[in-house]
């Protein structure tokens, strides 16, 4: 059952990489085998939870021993404008007895208790390695609970050992397709309804973009899953189009929304000025194709022009300060190029960018943008990264929390570009934030001080002998 689902997800026809593969390659899946002793990154359960937990008014029960939730809850900054229930850490906390006797009954009781305690519109139940190994059938338990307790109870079958975080994202998406999307109808629909897929409203990034959409009269009907309530996910099938934000994370959801409900999709990004403008234009064009009033295109154009102008005017003061600064970019996915173009807009040079988790298309765009100035890396070994920074080949690094201390220990400025970030960098507003954060990091006075030699290492003039 799970095996078939994983194969199905790997066999994604919407994926550009996959289209270039032979049948046999496709069958073997796209997950790179993980190297024991040299692996980094989350498991499939982690990925599924990242993709679904932002559904804010739901209870998310992790069925497993304490590690899966106890070590991992409350660690992301997905923001919600209404319910905060999703921030509650909930787990069956399986004990050795549960491992021996099976955890299904406990899980059922847990679902029941969660419903009576929090009265959520739905409960998500996440499978993990140990109950999967002992054969706990969470699908059956969820079915029984949904029937007896009268609420949707959604099984998310992505135990950690089946693969990477990225696979988990997709398996989370599958759960939405199977159990959530299409189960409710919106009170009304308009020709201006869209879905946003694969944005989790980290640090509130959606809130940097939604005012633009609102100004154009565009409504985010389906939220998958940033700043979503359960209802916002159930009605995604009635939108006029889907914008897929995070490269490939939920491509399966986008494609199946198209196949099953005729909702077309496009891949776009809200990182950087030109990408934001392109995304807005694409949304407008596609909505008009779906029957919206063609004047939307003109209004969008007018908004893009005025917002771009406003943004560049705010960036101008930074240009003189940042021109020629060299940055090492260590992210992945679409950020590998969308951030490059954003930085180049104000004269910052990207000397290297990693293209982990990026598609071939992402890589081509990054290469084209950087020209001969920069290198594309698949992964930079930490030791090499440290050397590049220590030798001042770059003036700062933009990366994720995992590599933060490589930069800081090399006494080099660093900025968080990843999921754990506290700052929002989306849309035109986000661009201004990003550049001001870079400026703030680069010109902090501590750098000069922390790089000065210690008194005992300093070369000083011979001490005066007292007369």
């Amino acid at each position: 059952m799970l095996k078939r689902k994983v194969e199905d997800v790997f066999n994604e026809p919407g994926c550009a990489t996959n289209q270039g593969k032979t049948d046999k390659q496709r069958k073997s899946g796209c997950a790179k085998p993980l190297t024991p002793g040299a692996a980094a990154g989350g498991c499939a359960f982690d990925g599924a939870k990242i993709a679904l937990q932002p559904i804010a008014d739901c209870i998310h029960i992790v069925h497993g021993p304490i590690a899966c939730e106890g070590n991992g809850w409350d660690n992301r900054h997905a923001k919600s404008s209404n319910s905060q229930v999703f921030r509650t850490g909930v787990t069956t906390d399986m004990s050795d007895l549960d491992v021996i006797y099976g955890g299904e009954k406990k899980l059922y009781k847990a679902i029941k208790e969660a419903i009576s305690r929090f009265d959520p519109p739905a409960v998500f139940v996440y499978q993990t390695c140990v109950p999967a190994m002992i054969g706990d059938d969470i699908v059956k338990v969820c079915e029984a609970a949904a029937e007896r307790l009268g609420k949707p109870v959604i099984p998310v079958n992505a135990p950690g050992f089946v693969g990477s975080k990225n696979l988990g994202n997709k398996l989370g998406g599958e759960a939405l397709l199977e159990y959530v999307i299409g189960t409710e109808e919106p009170a009304e629909t308009t020709p201006y309804d869209i879905n946003i897929l694969g944005d989790y409203n980290i640090a509130g990034e959606l809130w940097q973009v939604e005012p633009l959409l609102k100004k154009l009269g565009i409504r985010v009907l389906g939220r998958i899953t940033g700043d979503a309530r359960y209802h916002d996910v159930t009605v995604a099938h009635r939108a006029k189009l889907s914008m897929m934000v995070c490269s490939q994370a939920l491509i399966n959801v986008a494609r199946k929304l198209q196949e099953r409900y005729g909702v077309p999709y496009f891949e776009g990004s809200f990182y950087g000025v030109s990408d934001t403008s392109m995304a807005l234009r694409t949304i407008a064009r596609m909505l008009v194709e779906q029957g919206a009033d063609p004047e939307l295109i003109d209004r969008t154009e007018a908004l893009v022009i005025s917002e771009e102008a406003r943004c560049y005017a705010r960036l101008a003061p930074y240009k003189a300060r940042l021109e020629g600064k060299r940055v090492l970019l260590y992210t992945g996915g679409h950020k590998s190029w969308s951030v490059i173009s954003a930085l180049q807009d104000i004269g910052v040079k990207v000397i290297g960018s990693s293209v982990r988790k990026s598609t071939d298309n992402d890589k081509d765009r990054a290469k084209e943008l950087m020209g001969d100035d920069g290198m594309l890396y698949d992964a930079i070994p930490p030791r090499e990264m440290y050397r590049m920074l220590k030798d001042r080949e770059a003036d700062m690094m933009l990366s994720g929390g995992r590599t933060q201390f490589i930069a800081l220990k090399a006494k080099m400025p660093w900025l968080d570009m990843n999921q754990e970030r506290h700052h929002a960098y989306a849309g035109y507003e986000g661009m201004v934030s990003l550049i001001s954060e870079i400026d703030k990091a680069l010109f902090n006075p501590i750098w000069e001080q922390v790089r000065t030699p210690a008194p005992w290492d300093a070369i000083c003039a011979p001490a005066k002998t007292e007369a």
């Binding site: 993980l34 190297t35 024991p36 002793g37 040299a38 692996a39 990154g41 989350g42 498991c43 359960f45 982690d46 497993g64 021993p65 304490i66 590690a67 899966c68 939730e69 106890g70 070590n71 991992g72 809850w73 660690n75 921030r87 509650t88 850490g89 909930v90 787990t91 069956t92 906390d93 399986m94 004990s95 050795d96 491992v99 406990k106 009781k109 847990a110 208790e113 390695c129 140990v130 190994m133 002992i134 135990p159 950690g160 050992f161 089946v162 990477s164 930490p382 030791r383 440290y386 050397r387 220590k390 929390g401 995992r402 201390f405 490589i406 220990k409 090399a410 006494k411 754990e420 922390v450």
Partner: protein, 454 residues
């Protein structure tokens, strides 16, 4: 004193508890040149890694055997073998600390046998200590994983010795001691002219220092040579009940006598420690230490006004819970709610009516019911504190929303003194200011009074 309660719950809401393998790995982080390795799926390591990075704000060496669906069915010996080889080849580490997880324990991996096989196949690993420990996620909690890992280090690295090195003593540090605490303990021991070997020594590795070069493993911590030499120490002092097994193992292996100190927070507790140091060293406390004690006395005198009868709710792992609640009670505060993560012999001595093995939800309910004025727990308690509108004093691991977690010091005369100031200041800040309606008369009489006035 306290009754220990194990509620039968199907649902843990806002966990206090973290898993055994994470505790085991943390202990290995106090060994120099070490790479902790979880034998499980890569998520097991990833979650722990994120938590450790957020707490210590340091690069954390931490690896995984990356078990997948197939190896979960067929067995993980090859993953373990590859992991050891990859780690050794990349980092040239001196120690690999292997902890099992829920996944490998459910399958029933034979770690000892597997490692023997790996050693036979790879003589190139001869120079690496591979210490292994059994830490299923579905039993106990972080504190026990730590204790088991240290016991494993003792059993697998310490060498039995004839005779003792004069003035050398072992300090077995529990998981509740921060790098700052360990520095304090070391200072105290050294003040008596003794040479401590601290195991594990997070103060060497995770105290937040800036090394001159990149290290793929832990940088700093107890060296393998020092661990071997622990068998030659005159005495072992274990801090926290969680270290009792390790201390006993050391005695069994090398005949080093030991004493377990339940805590090092609070005047009497530190006095007891100093007494032992006087006895072992044959010296009386130096002036510096006497002065520190005097400062603590003064802090108690100045601070007790704010603690007396103050109702406090505390949630922490057993040894930390015991240290904090005992100190609070000694300052005159009332521990109205005490929550912990797992069973421990120390719990019955906690100065509270009952100790619940539970979660933040239990803390929140207890604090609300008993009208606690202060919460003490790790950073995950901030949501409960917000909800209850009660200040939160952050203690233990993880502390991801404050700077300087590694340097929080709550042991020794100075640590206790600082703790009185910090908690006392929080109580002062949140003390009640008089308001006009504070002393209004009971309802009925008030109505009468109003009527008369008109």
């Amino acid at each position: 004193m306290a009754e220990v309660i194990h509620p039968r719950k199907s649902l843990s809401i806002n966990p206090l508890k973290m898993s055994q393998p994470l505790g085991g790995a943390m202990a290995f982080m106090g060994i120099e040149g070490c790479m902790p390795l979880l034998h499980g799926s890569q998520g097991c390591t990833a979650f722990g890694l994120v938590l450790l990075v957020r707490h210590f704000r340091e690069a954390i060496p931490f690896q995984t055997t990356a078990m997948n669906e197939i190896t979960t069915i067929l067995g993980g010996v090859e993953n373990l073998e590859q992991a050891c080889l990859n780690i050794y080849n990349r980092t040239k580490c001196k120690v690999i600390g292997v902890c099992t997880t829920g996944l490998t324990e459910t399958r029933g991996e034979d770690l000892k046998g597997d490692l023997k096989l790996i050693r036979q196949r790879h003589p190139e690993l001869a120079g690496v200590e591979i210490v292994y420990v059994t830490t299923p996620d579905f039993a106990a909690a972080l504190e026990q994983g730590w204790g088991k890992a240290v016991t494993a280090m003792v059993e697998q690295i310490v060498q039995p010795a004839l005779g003792a090195t004069e003035g050398q003593i072992n300090i077995l540090a529990g998981s509740h001691l921060t790098p700052g605490d360990i520095e304090e303990v070391r200072d105290l021991v050294e003040a008596f002219g003794l040479t401590p070997i601290v195991l594990p020594d997070l103060a060497g590795s995770l105290d937040g220092h800036v090394p001159d070069q990149y290290m793929g493993t832990t940088y700093g911590g107890t060296t393998v040579e020092d661990i071997r030499a622990m068998g030659r120490s005159e005495y072992t002092i274990a801090i926290g009940q969680q270290m009792r097994y390790a201390a006993a193992a050391l005695e069994a292996k090398a005949g080093v006598p030991f004493e377990v100190l339940d805590r090092l927070t609070g005047l009497n507790a530190v006095d007891q420690f100093v007494q032992i140091l006087q006895k072992v060293s044959g010296r009386s406390a130096p002036a510096k230490i006497r002065r520190q004690r005097s400062q603590l006395l003064d802090a108690m005198l100045d601070g007790h006004f704010y603690f007396g009868n103050t109702q406090v709710a505390v949630a922490a792992e057993p040894d930390l819970l015991f240290a904090l609640t005992s100190w609070l009670a000694e300052m005159g505060a009332k521990v109205v709610t005490a929550i912990t993560s797992m069973d421990s012999p120390i719990l019955s001595q906690v100065p509270a009516d009952q100790v619940i093995v539970g979660d933040m939800d239990d803390l929140e309910r207890g604090a609300a019911e008993k009208g606690a004025r202060l919460l003490m727990t790790h950073s995950h308690g901030r949501m409960s504190a917000e909800k209850l509108d009660v200040p939160l004093f952050r203690v233990g691991f993880p502390m991801f929303d404050r700077l300087g977690a590694a340097h929080r010091r709550t042991v020794g005369y100075r640590g206790t003194r600082d703790l009185i100031f910090e908690v006392g200041n929080m109580l002062i800040e949140h003390s009640h200011e008089a308001a006009p309606d504070d002393w209004s008369l009971p309802e009925g009489e008030e109505a009468n009074a109003t009527a008369t006035a008109h």
